[in-house]
Subunit: 517 residues, 2 copies
């Protein structure tokens, strides 16, 4: 028996991999994450399978690529027969609870089909990605709103998406926090009532409630996802003059990939062309990250005081990154490093990890590795459906043989206006990505490719896909994509059958029948 009895699985939303002190950031202060990394392992090359909240999270929760779980975009339902870490943990007797957001969409049509036949599935199985809903907050959680009401805030609670993020200008006006010009002002809600503070408190309450029973808590913060507004003192903790400038080049705007320009317009990226905007937006973004870090400090101290640092695996990660002006973009679409590379720290309480604490592992990690890591830590068998690999060996000084040499991604962009402006059919709105130590290649079904030489051009400023000198490279990486898909189709039922009866067990005409006299 190992020492891991619980898992604290922390996710933040839209936080860049580089925005931690331990990752070398020159400005953002994250002393508690740095502390966690000093006690655990920082994975410097961790990637999500797609850089949009919903589908990325479904990869993380199921341990399967987007094309396997098929929840391709926000609001596209996760099929009911897809199992998440919560289902696996609960089936093994581990209490699996949610404190925050999953961006999971239930399989409504199929559930309706079942209901028409007289069966109403347990909502715990079919909603919130299978987690017990300890405190759900999909950006406007009931519990948080109740809390704000109880604190006597005068807010437009009939529109919680607005209420939660109003800011106050010095002259006493209230302003919509979703607008970029709001970034410089503090939220009406005080820090101690903010979502970050509230969710942290609720997480502690869960841990107290769970007592000595094994648990897996998914603490899933809303921030630093926009609306990019912070409570005092975080709203002006960083001076806009000090922020790191965007990674971009004016040349990127000449003759860009055809999807980039309509996308820049649609995704509200244009304000980032302006220096004042990106400076303020980045400063507030840093503040939101430091706010989370401060609350994680509280949480880690709470765990220590209760002895939970001795039996709890802690995972800290983001669901994807954020451009904040990199490549002239806002948010997280496409496959640039700013979007798909994530912060990932894992702390293992087991003494077998002691000799390796504080190390950095630069092997390629994919978000589909989180499920097998949790299961492995909890000593629960890893089902055939899971496509990722446990990271536990890395925590204990081992590198598994034949570890992956590339990471892969998938993006369905049909639900952007840009796809219509380009006249694309829904099924053409697909891009697949492979990234190894040398190149990143993206193949679009109905548009030109993208190719970056990451050695010569680590900032991904020069798309080489159209350059005839790179024809061989493109062909080689196209083959990588093809074979990735051949090897990772959703064949879990075939794999389960193979696991049960072996490779040659299903020849329906057995030899003994054919050769029988």
């Amino acid at each position: 028996m190992g020492k891991v009895r619980n898992v604290l699985f922390i996710m933040v939303d839209q936080m860049r991999a580089d925005c931690m002190g331990v990752a070398g950031h020159p400005v953002v202060r994250t002393p508690h994450l740095d502390w966690l990394a000093s006690r655990g392992i920082l994975f410097s090359h961790a990637y999500v399978q797609t850089a949009v909240c919903g589908p990325s999270r479904m990869c993380t929760y199921t341990g399967r690529y987007t094309h396997a779980h098929r929840s391709y975009w926000n609001e596209v339902p996760l099929p009911l027969d897809e199992k998440t870490i919560a289902h696996y943990a609960r089936a093994a007797g581990v209490r699996a609870a949610l404190c925050g957001k999953t961006h999971h969409t239930p399989d409504t049509q199929f559930i309706r089909w079942l209901e028409e036949r007289g069966f109403k599935p347990d909502p715990i199985d079919t909603t919130n990605a299978g987690f017990e809903p300890w405190e759900v907050n999909e950006f406007w959680g009931d519990g948080w709103m109740q809390h704000l009401k109880s604190q006597g805030y005068d807010l437009p609670f009939d529109n919680p998406m607005m209420a939660a993020f109003l800011v106050q200008t010095p002259d006493g006006r209230r302003m919509n926090g979703w607008r970029f010009e709001a970034a410089r002002y503090p939220t009406v809600i005080r820090e101690e009532d903010s979502d970050t503070a509230f969710m942290t408190r609720r997480a502690m309450e869960f841990i107290a409630d769970a007592g000595e029973q094994p648990w897996l808590l998914h603490l899933s913060y809303l921030k630093p996802h926009w609306p990019n507004v912070a409570p005092a003192p975080y709203h002006n903790m960083y001076d806009p003059a000090d922020v790191v400038p965007p990674v971009r080049d004016i040349g990127e705007l000449d003759n860009p990939h055809p999807l980039l320009e309509p996308f820049r317009v649609e995704r509200r990226s244009l304000p980032f062309d302006d220096e004042e905007t990106w400076r303020q937006m980045r400063a507030t973004y840093y503040g939101l990250i430091t706010q989370i870090d401060d609350h994680l400090g509280r949480l880690f101290r709470f765990l220590e005081a209760r002895g939970r640092m001795d039996d709890t695996l802690i995972i800290f990660m983001s669901d994807h990154g954020e451009y904040m002006g990199d490549h002239w973009l806002f948010e997280k679409e496409f496959f640039y490093e700013s979007a798909i590379r994530i912060p990932l720290i894992i702390y293992d309480p087991d003494p077998r990890a002691d000799d390796y604490r504080g190390q950095v592992v630069d092997h390629f990690v994919e978000s589909i590795d989180i499920v097998p890591t949790c299961l492995d830590a909890l000593e629960i068998p890893i089902p055939a459906a899971v496509q990722g690999h446990s990271l536990m060996p890395f925590l204990r000084g081992e590198t598994p043989e034949q570890w992956r040499s590339a990471v892969y991604g998938d993006w369905d962009f049909r639900f952007y206006q840009a796809s219509q402006q380009l006249g694309l059919e829904g099924d053409q709105c697909r891009a697949w990505m492979v990234r190894d130590r040398h190149y990143k290649y993206v193949h679009f079904a109905g548009l030109p490719d993208m190719l970056f030489d990451l050695r010569a051009d680590p900032d991904e400023l020069h798309n080489l896909a159209g350059d005839s000198e790179y024809k061989e490279v493109v062909e080689a990486y196209k083959t990588k994509l093809l074979e990735w898909r051949q090897r990772t189709e959703d064949n879990r039922r075939g794999q389960e059958l193979e696991d049960r009866i072996g490779r040659t067990g299903v020849s329906w005409v057995p030899d003994e029948l054919v050769w029988w006299e």
Copy 2:
């Protein structure tokens, strides 16, 4: 309202596309199929998505590619949320019944998960591909066995797989019909009690039973799939001296594709090296086809007598072909034309088809087109999940714009010993195929490719994939495969969402929120 009220969907098992008089075969007599073709349309370039019974049928029944429905091989369950033509028809008030075989495997694990939660799904939904089980015969049907018992046969009924196919030698011995040397002898079971006769009778009984209510009957014969034994007089109706020789070249045995040689051994192909064997096997195979044709004649006369030729769409097809020694192979694996090209005739009772009866359509058809064709004929809306296209326009003299210029296939060969002999992991056992008017290209995940120039080498005797002269061709067809998959992933839930709310309806942060004052 069109005239089609019923669909008679006839499938035979393992019948080659070329084995019909109307297809130009010099030996096999199929006067009733020829008659049907003279009243309907013969599709000369119809292909299945994979040449193994179970997965091929699941493509045909769901209207979806193998990677979409994920029943990759015989006995790999069809996921419960996959819908078939039977589910669609029943939901629209059309009685959908099965008379014969589907090779469908229920989604046992998921059904168990539901049962553990107190829900027992209706077996009509979860078994027999959703069809009402009028008369099921998966090679050893209860109804047929009961019939044989009632006729006083002295057979080993404890082993129906054996009982059904015993033959009688002239010296009075009984011999196992699964052995190739049995092909020359008549079955113990008389013709009028054979599976083909019994199932045809049961189909007529269904049509009588259905009366004036709309119906879709899947009449699914077991033959001419081996055991390659026929009742008198069909067992020696054709002279082995007259059969068409196998399409093969001795050069194919030199330096073959690495999967071919172990496969030849495993799939009992070696006896076909011997001329006496392939001659006898082909002669008996022809006999089985003519037997089916004779019973189809009875069935068509029955329909005419009842007026059903006036309101019934009739589809005749096979689930895949058969090598019978072509390329030194037996059965139907790989993607040679003998295996993936199928006979397909469709008869449309509507007067709008009158001007086009007897024509041959050589456009590419895929088996996933059958579901939309049936739905279209019955005026039932075609769901987003369906990946094929209705063939109804062809029946009425129209060619849809931008009709497909290639057909595609997928094969999971993990459940063959050959895959283990080659040391392949389960997820490496994948081959994808594209075939257009010029080339056929097959990409294997862990093995060399196959490329045939169908113009220069229509018999597919020379694999050009390793030839550096064809490097550009290989790259071009690899891209076709990649984009085929990008465009046909199982994104039906995304498509349903798009159909419901439009392309840009799910941006979770609406503009009016962001720009609200």
